[in-house]
């Protein structure tokens, strides 16, 4: 069943996964020759599909893929999974900020030298 609205597809597919985490699979099909991308989530009872050919929709691909990774790797609820991802990003940002600060201070040190 194709769903036109991405938000509906996103929510329904997460619900589908939560109902049967061990039987649900998420699949990304890309047909180069037609430039067509199809996302599919199914538990062999219900099949949800979303189809696009727009480059801008790659953001949606990124969004749904990055929610299914924590769901499938940890088996946790999306709230916790999403929080984990955000926390990880914040840590990375902090680390990046720290390295930048370190770089700046080393530059200053060089100038002083």
């Amino acid at each position: 069943m194709y769903i036109e609205d991405f938000e509906a597809f996103y929510q329904q597919s997460v619900e589908l996964y939560k109902a049967r985490p061990l039987e649900t699979r998420y699949s990304i099909k890309f047909r180069h020759s037609e430039g067509k991308l199809v996302l599919k989530v199914t538990d062999d009872r219900t099949c949800l599909k979303y189809k696009t050919d727009q480059q801008a929709d790659l953001r949606k691909l990124e969004r749904i893929t990055s929610i299914f990774f924590p769901l499938m790797a940890c088996g946790e609820l999306p709230a916790e999974g999403a929080a984990g991802v955000e926390a990880g990003q914040q840590q990375q940002q902090q680390q990046a900020g720290g390295t930048q600060a370190a770089g700046a201070s080393s530059k200053k040190a060089r100038r002083r030298g």
């Binding site: 699949s27 727009q54 480059q55 924590p70 499938m72």
Partner: protein, 99 residues
Amino acid sequence: MVLLESDPFLNELHKMYDRNKSGTVWVTMKRTNMKPRKSKKPNPKAEYVCLIRANDGKRHISTTVSATQYAKFSQSMVIIMKGAMADTLKKKEKKKDKQ
């Protein structure tokens, strides 16, 4: 089906997208404990991981990602996919008539 480590899998996935400029690539993800389905006693302690498979109709590759590794892998995989798909997908049509 070749089960690879995560980095070789990403390399192979990249090549697979490159090879199939006129074909189709499927990528499938599911949660599994990698045990045969027929085993009678389900083991509650079995470790569950995320199994990722890729297939172009000729070759199949797969890898598993555990709860500790997924963040980095997920980012890399999305970057590869976006890179492979960006050129082929249509760009948003700009509205010519400004009102």
